[in-house]
């Protein structure tokens, strides 16, 4: 019998819909796989076996139908799931069970997708390796001595390790795309406002975007279609119809990109990418040209300021968003012995509950918003953001999409970048500009460098998510998908 965990989501959905296999069988296969390998991968912080099987049974009883009905999914632990622990990989929320579902989780449930569990991540989505998880890092299925990327390393590793066919990630500066790149999987960041943030534990409100993680472009598009669309509970949600990403992915599969203009960013050249990353990227460009695409060099002069602007805006918003974790209403409370003042208890709680990277960013953001520094830091960063947006807009007058490597380097060994935060921050060099602009971007596997996956990034204009899926599917058809070594 076929190993159900090796099938992609589209195939599983088809088998379930045609009753060739039951949703319970599919869920069970994945739960068994998790039981077999997750002690080595550590992609999951919590496995919701009972809930997943109950959801699968509802599909088998015919109570729920839909394009992905019965296809199980893993959800990043930063997304609220009713009754299922949601910690954002932080000690400060250990054991917290939300009394409500995030909008995207409610949509997964309505689509009949059993939730296998919650995936590991850098604490509060701050990091590029999962090494900042309070519950230990996730291992890259390609090499268990290396990082799976971050912050959503758990979601991407779960897919790469065949523990789940699909997963939900969130992308603030590259947290879907960079893990996708280093685990050889697909990760898409939709247009900001294209997917609801309601129920997503906020890191940086103006940047956070939930999106799909999958092993194929079409699977990512199918999941994208399930979770996207206007949500009245999110004020920043876009009230427009969702581009038909599934049709675009299927169109791209036929491998014809005649007339499509791909822009390469002049300022990304000489960026310190590993030679193997640059080589794989160049080969992919050649492959796309063979499919009919045209390559145009464009200039985005302000991209070089994206990283510093991001590291002012995101921590500033985070310093305020994370203020609610004070031990008063939920989560950890430390030092409440009847003798200490409220201020002391709040302070002890936050000191114990937050890890070093979270504290670093709270302090950075608090400083950047302080009176007397606001204009120089937060204000200036917002101006840079506007300039970067203009760079994108003028680039998209010349080309259909922009392309780049997803991240400058492949999966690095544990501990190799934790001592110098800046070395860690460089992982998001190519992904951050898109977040500041708000447009969609996708990372798709494009080959190996010294045996490790390399990601190819495609960036599109806001609300033109379909465009990136088309190009991504075309590239996938040309270079194929990647299969990691057996665990």
């Amino acid at each position: 019998m076929t190993d159900l965990t090796r099938l992609n989501a589209a195939s599983l959905a088809d088998l379930i819909a045609t009753k060739q296999v039951s949703a319970v069988e599919v869920a069970t296969a994945h739960l068994d796989r998790i039981a077999a390998v997750d002690d080595r991968v550590h992609a999951f912080l919590h496995v919701s076996r009972a809930e997943a099987l109950a959801a699968a049974e509802r599909v088998d009883r015919g109570e729920v139908t839909g394009p992905l009905a019965g296809v199980p999914i893993a959800v990043k632990d930063v997304v609220a799931t009713e009754g299922i622990p949601t910690t954002a990989a932080s000690k400060i929320l250990e054991g917290w069970k939300p009394p409500y579902d995030a909008t995207i989780v409610a949509r997964l449930k309505a689509a009949g997708m059993p939730i296998l569990g919650k995936t590991n991540m850098d604490e509060f989505a701050m990091g590029s390796s999962t090494e900042y998880s309070a519950y230990g890092p996730t291992k890259n299925p390609w090499d268990l001595g290396r990082i799976p990327g971050g912050s959503g390393g758990g979601s991407s590793a779960a897919i790469a390790a065949y523990e789940a066919p699909l997963a939900i990630g969130t992308d603030t500066g590259g947290s879907i795309r960079q893990p996708g790149a280093v685990t050889g999987t697909v990760g898409a960041k939709p247009t900001y406002g294209g997917t609801s943030r309601y129920g997503l534990i906020a890191f940086s409100s103006s940047l956070d975007t939930p999106g799909p993680c999958a092993r194929t472009v079409e699977d990512a598009a199918l999941l994208h279609a399930v979770i996207a669309g206007h949500d009245p509970r999110d004020s920043t949600s876009i009230n427009q119809s969702v581009p038909d990403v599934v049709a675009a992915a299927r169109l791209g599969k036929n491998g014809d990109l005649t007339g499509v203009k791909l822009g390469i960013v002049k300022e990304f050249a000489g960026d310190g990418s590993e030679p193997g990353v640059t080589a794989a990227f160049r080969e992919s460009l050649d492959a796309l040209v063979k499919l009919g695409a045209e390559i145009v060099e464009v200039s985005c002069p302000h991209f070089e300021y994206a990283l510093p602007a991001y590291y002012l805006i995101a921590p500033s918003e985070a310093s305020s968003n994370l203020a609610r974790f004070d031990g008063v209403r939920y989560g950890l409370r430390t030092g409440d012995d009847g003798n200490r003042s409220l201020e002391e208890v709040m302070s002890l709680t936050r000191d114990e509950g937050f890890g070093p990277e979270v504290k670093r960013r709270i302090i950075l953001g608090t400083y950047a918003l302080s009176s007397g520094y606001y204009d120089a830091y937060y204000g200036q960063a917002q101006k840079v953001r506007t300039l970067i947006t203009r760079d994108f807009q003028s680039a998209f007058e010349q080309v259909d999409v922009l392309v780049s490597p997803t991240t400058p380097f492949t999966a690095f060994p544990f501990g190799s970048r934790t001592s110098d935060p800046y070395q860690m921050y460089l992982a998001d060099l190519f992904t951050i500009p898109t977040n500041l602009y708000g447009g969609p971007a996708i990372s798709v596997p494009c080959g190996l460098s010294e045996g490790l996956p390399v990601g190819f990034q495609i960036m599109a204009p806001t609300m033109a998510d379909d465009r990136m899926y088309r190009v991504a599917a075309a590239l996938e058809s040309a270079v194929g998908t990647l299969t990691p070594p057996a665990l």
């Binding site: 534990i201 310093s319 709040m346 606001y374």
Partner: protein, 493 residues
């Protein structure tokens, strides 16, 4: 050192920041109800409890009410503005930041005209902005209800997220000794304006309208002095007292060569003076920044225009009109306004009462009762329709003044409408001449000496017999009828 003496040497500058809790059905960023007095934490949800992941969505009714207030205060309405986060840690503020407005208020540059002692003063409005209220902290286990000595602190988040409008005046110089009265008149006018809009019940006693008063003194010709901010000013009278006492306190310090420190002070209702609040060694840095969870507010000019056109008559204009219609003096109208009786009197007149009759009940019996109970006049127990009915019974001669007051007692005690109370308590004026004649004859028989005097033409002596008759009829007879009857029976008419 008298207040008058102080004002010969110093010039005060005042400013007022007023918070008005809006009467929207639901909170500002979620669908929770805003009913007053509900069980603690029953009107809460993930949004107003700031559970991880929850997001705010703006209540359109709150924006509309804020624009209405801005328009009624002659403000310009911003075409585009944003909410801002005011960051500070406090347990009754679930997010540990307050969603407010900072440098982009919704309404700016307005004014309010108030009249004191026949002279008009224009109070500039700097800004009107929208923000959310906090929850309430309750300290239990201590003797005083304060945090000191308490064993536990409980937080009720029912109020958290209720929309608040903050109205900030420009500094007002040049008022001299009238500063306290102008401050009070401004707050009263603001209350009437907001009440007329129907967007808040503006009850200072219940905290749905709260005032902070800024006061400074300077020598004539000098720059303005350092100001203090007095909080906890919870009635119109307190506004006046707070300004007055702060002027005197500051003058005392300045006279002694001292310096005024910029600080928050608290008004003491019992003593009428202000006390220094918790001293803060460093100024709080609220780290304001634009709220990224909410899209900017861009009020459609067509909408703003329609709100402007639908504004109700200004309270000052309305008072002038009613004063004319009712034929009363400025000060009578002022006392009606201060008692919150204008609308009630108006409705009573509409229900058929004469202006004098309507005013008499609302400013007399019912005002006394509302003061005793410490409730608003509208909650003293009678409706305008009932008052009009009561007055009609008097006008028709069915009740005299004394009986009418007894009927009103029954009405406010919930015994029914005036006619029903009159019937059930048997309070109608006795007009039955047969019964009255018997009572008169009885009184004549019991007082032969007085009767003789009357027969002799000493008509004034009839008063004693009238009293006797009124006593036997328990006040239910009409005194004039009784008198006429006595004179008739004694052949003296």
């Amino acid at each position: 050192m008298s207040y008058e003496d102080v004002l010969t040497r110093y010039e005060p500058v005042i400013g007022l920041e007023t918070h008005v809790e809006l009467g929207t059905k639901t909170k500002m960023f979620c669908g929770c109800k805003t009913d007053f007095g509900a069980e603690p934490n029953t009107q809460t949800c993930p949004v107003c409890l700031a559970l991880p992941g929850a997001l705010p969505v703006m209540n359109r009714a709150a924006i509309e009410a804020t624009i209405q207030i801005g328009l009624a205060l002659n403000c310009d309405i911003a075409e585009w503005c944003r909410m801002a986060r005011k960051n500070y840690f406090y347990p009754d503020m679930p997010k540990n930041f307050q969603t407010s407005q900072y440098d982009e208020p919704l309404c700016v540059e307005g004014y309010v005209d108030v009249t004191v002692d026949g002279k008009e003063y224009r109070i500039g409005i700097e800004r009107v902005h929208i923000e959310e209220d906090t929850g309430k902290t309750l300290h239990v286990g201590g003797a005083t209800g304060r945090i000191h000595g308490a064993t536990e602190s409980l937080v009720d988040y029912n109020r958290a997220g209720i929309p608040l409008v903050e109205i900030v005046t420009k500094p007002v110089p040049g008022l001299g000794a009238l500063a306290p009265e102008v401050a009070k008149a401004y707050v009263a006018e603001l209350r009437d304006i907001v009440r007329a809009l129907g967007v808040s019940d503006v009850r200072m006693e219940q905290g749905s309208m709260r005032c902070d008063v800024n006061t400074s003194l300077n020598l004539p010709g000098d720059d303005w002095g350092t100001r203090t901010e007095t909080k906890n000013v919870n009635s119109l009278r307190s506004v006046e007292r707070a300004v007055r006492s702060e002027i005197i306190r500051q003058a005392g310090i300045l006279d002694d060569g001292g310096k005024i420190f910029q600080e928050t002070r608290h008004f003491q209702e019992t003593t009428g003076d202000t006390r220094s609040g918790r001293s803060k060694e460093t100024a709080t840095d609220y780290r304001y920044f634009p709220e990224p969870d909410l899209v900017p507010i861009a009020a459609d000019p067509v909408w703003v225009t329609s709100l402007r056109e639908a504004l109700p008559e200004k309270p000052s204009v309305k008072r002038a009109r009613l004063r004319e219609e009712w034929g009363i003096s400025e000060s009578d109208m002022q006392s009606a306004a201060n008692a919150g009786a204008v609308e009630l009197i108006e409705e009573t007149i509409a229900a058929g009462a004469s202006p004098a009759g309507a005013r008499k009940w609302w400013l007399g019996e019912l005002a006394r009762r509302s003061n005793e109970l410490g409730v608003e006049l509208s909650e003293a127990g009678a409706t305008p329709v009932q008052v009009a009915e009561l007055q009609k019974l008097v006008d028709d001669g069915k009740l005299n003044d004394k009986l009418a007051r007894q009927v009103l007692e029954g009405v406010v005690a919930g015994e029914g409408d005036p006619a029903a109370v009159m019937a059930s308590r048997g309070l109608e004026v006795v007009n039955d001449t047969g019964a009255l004649t018997a009572a008169v004859d009885e009184a004549i028989a019991a007082n032969p000496d007085i009767a003789a005097k009357i027969r002799d033409g000493k008509v004034a002596a009839a008063g004693a017999l009238v009293g006797a008759v009124m006593k036997t009829t328990r006040g239910q007879a009409d005194a004039k009828t009784v008198r006429d009857l006595i004179l008739e029976r004694l052949g003296a008419s």
